[in-house]
């Protein structure tokens, strides 16, 4: 009998989405289950998420290019202790920094969900798993790649 513990997910009520001009395209794409990353339309390098200018060439011509969501765990933590009461039913969950395949200079903060804790490690291959919230916001999360 396996007693493997699986990663859960943080509760929705922890977070309310606020957007601005420069993050709206990211969250709009997420609603359609598309992971889109900001790339400079002029110098073709990835830009910072939410930045108003390309930090390389200062262009504001930021285009949003779709990514498959396949990548690797760059680092992670396992939250085991509910520091606030609303986390009680959500632990353990796994915040992670995700390095996306082929993307240089832009890592995502997300969660690894629905995976055995013992199998999650730095370097683990992950794939996208969308989480649709009741308020209409969709979050890109990740699970261990098959």
């Amino acid at each position: 009998m396996s007693t493997e513990v699986f990663a859960k997910a943080p509760p929705d009520e922890l977070f309310q989405l606020e957007v601005d001009t420069w993050t709206q395209p990211y969250w709009d794409a997420a609603k359609n289950h598309q992971l889109k990353l900001p790339k400079c339309g002029d110098c073709q390098q990835y830009c910072e998420l939410g930045a108003s200018h390309c930090r390389h060439c200062l262009s504001q011509n930021i285009s949003w290019v779709e990514h498959s969501g396949s990548g690797k765990v760059y680092s992670f933590t396992i939250i085991r202790f509910p520091v606030i009461p609303s986390l009680q039913d959500s632990v353990p969950y796994v915040p992670a920094v995700i390095e996306l395949d082929g993307v240089d200079g832009l890592k995502l903060i997300s969660n690894v969900v629905d995976a055995p804790l013992s199998e999650i490690d730095v370097g683990s291959a992950v794939s996208l798993r969308w989480h649709d919230r009741e308020d209409g916001v969709s979050l890109p999360r990740f699970t261990l790649a098959k």
Partner: protein
């Protein structure tokens, strides 16, 4: 900064170190006033001599302080941006203010007082949502420890750092607190207890987290010239530096640091300028008061400040190098944030001054140069050298 030894810390003061939430019904402003009065008395000055305030981590209201303390005129009032990263930057600003003649007696006050029922350890769940914070808030990062755990995990992966190193930081810091009057934790911590401690945010267990306290503290800074005639041996401001590199940037609120920065404390550039400006190296530092909100960040600061090579912090610590007794660089001789108390950097500044005066509880013999750091945190981060 090119004003070595033109300014000095001449007074230190603090309230008792309370457990979080237990300083009530005293008010925030009241606690700060008490610390300032203590610090000016320590210096042999009157509060009426104060003509400048230098704040960090959101500071407080200069006008309110003047009302309570009867300070007639202020000619300098400024604050380092950001949070605990900039803590010792406030001493640098104060030193610049007196060295340039902008003001004569500048106070760096800080107060941390927790409202009942809320705690700093879950601070990220109490902040208003903004577009830039959406990315980490969506990931369920609620307390500072959740973020720093990911830096620690990466350091372990990249350099083979072991939990035994974090344990040694916690144990050595605790040992220093045992004899320190007013320290919150004064019972020795064993390796067995450490490893039996509950895991909070892997790889951080209970003993890797700092305390949460109610404390006000204050430093009084004046010119080197005036310092000569005051009550205490001056702790000269040898150098100060605040800021940091874009690659570190918002650090934990961003997590986009490249490899060489991610598993670090973000202080490497601070260290470089701090030493180079005054022609010293890490070997010249006698005691290091390193902001220890989380034990792994001590390991990473030891690397940033050149006490050991990048990636070797774990082994360096495990070899006993940061011990007060017998270590090559005694660290957090007051018991640090992990065992003495936590108040966003002010307690480290107080200990730095005591070490230079020669009056510290765990006095490093003939300490001539003390390093005091601000928190590894979003920019600005900061570093300070105090000297005889």
């Amino acid at each position: 900064m090119k004003i070595a030894k033109q300014a000095a810390v001449v007074g230190i003061g603090a309230t008792p170190y309370y457990r979080r939430g237990e300083s009530h019904p005293q008010t925030f402003n009241e606690l700060i006033c008490k610390a300032i009065i203590n610090a000016t008395e320590d210096a042999g000055l009157s509060v009426k001599d104060i003509d400048g305030f230098s704040y960090y981590s959101f500071g407080t209201d200069t006008g309110l302080l003047m009302e309570s303390l009867g300070i007639p005129e202020v000619r300098y009032s400024s604050m380092v941006s950001g949070g605990g990263g900039g803590s010792v930057g406030a001493v640098q600003n104060a030193a610049m203010a007196v060295a340039t003649g902008a003001a004569n007696v500048v106070v760096v006050p800080f107060c941390m007082q927790q409202p009942t029922g809320k705690r700093y350890g879950s601070i990220m769940s109490q902040i208003d949502p903004t577009p830039d914070k959406a990315f980490f808030m969506a990931g369920g990062l609620v307390g500072p420890g959740h973020f720093f755990a990911m830096l620690a995990k990466r350091h372990m992966h990249q350099y083979g750092t072991r939990r035994e190193a974090f344990c040694e930081v916690a144990m050595s810091t605790r040992e220093n607190a045992i004899t320190r009057p007013g320290a919150r934790f004064q019972k020795a911590l064993t390796k067995e207890e450490y490893f039996a401690g509950p895991m909070i945010a892997d790889p951080l267990c209970r003993y890797d987290f700092c305390l949460e306290n109610d404390i006000a503290g204050a430093l009084v800074i004046t010119s080197a010239e005036r310092a000569k005639d005051l009550k205490q041996r001056p702790a000269y401001v040898l150098n100060g530096e605040q800021g940091g590199r874009r690659e570190w940037g918002r650090s934990i609120a961003w997590m986009n640091m490249p490899d060489e920065y991610f598993a670090s404390a973000g202080h490497a550039s601070i260290a470089k300028h701090l030493y180079a400006d005054v022609g010293i190296t890490a070997a010249d530092v006698d005691v290091a008061l390193l902001y220890d909100h989380f034990s792994p960040m001590v390991v990473m600061q030891l690397e940033d400040y050149g006490f050991c090579a990048r990636g070797e912090g774990g082994a360096f610590v495990e070899d006993g190098n940061i011990r007060f007794k017998g270590g090559s660089i005694p660290v957090n001789t007051h018991g640090g944030n992990l065992s003495e108390a936590y108040a966003v950097g002010i307690t480290h500044m107080i200990e730095g001054v005591q070490q230079i005066r020669g009056t510290a509880t765990n006095q490093v013999k003939d300490a001539e140069i003390a390093l005091v750091t601000g928190g590894p945190a979003s920019l600005p981060v900061s570093g300070l050298l105090l000297s005889r």
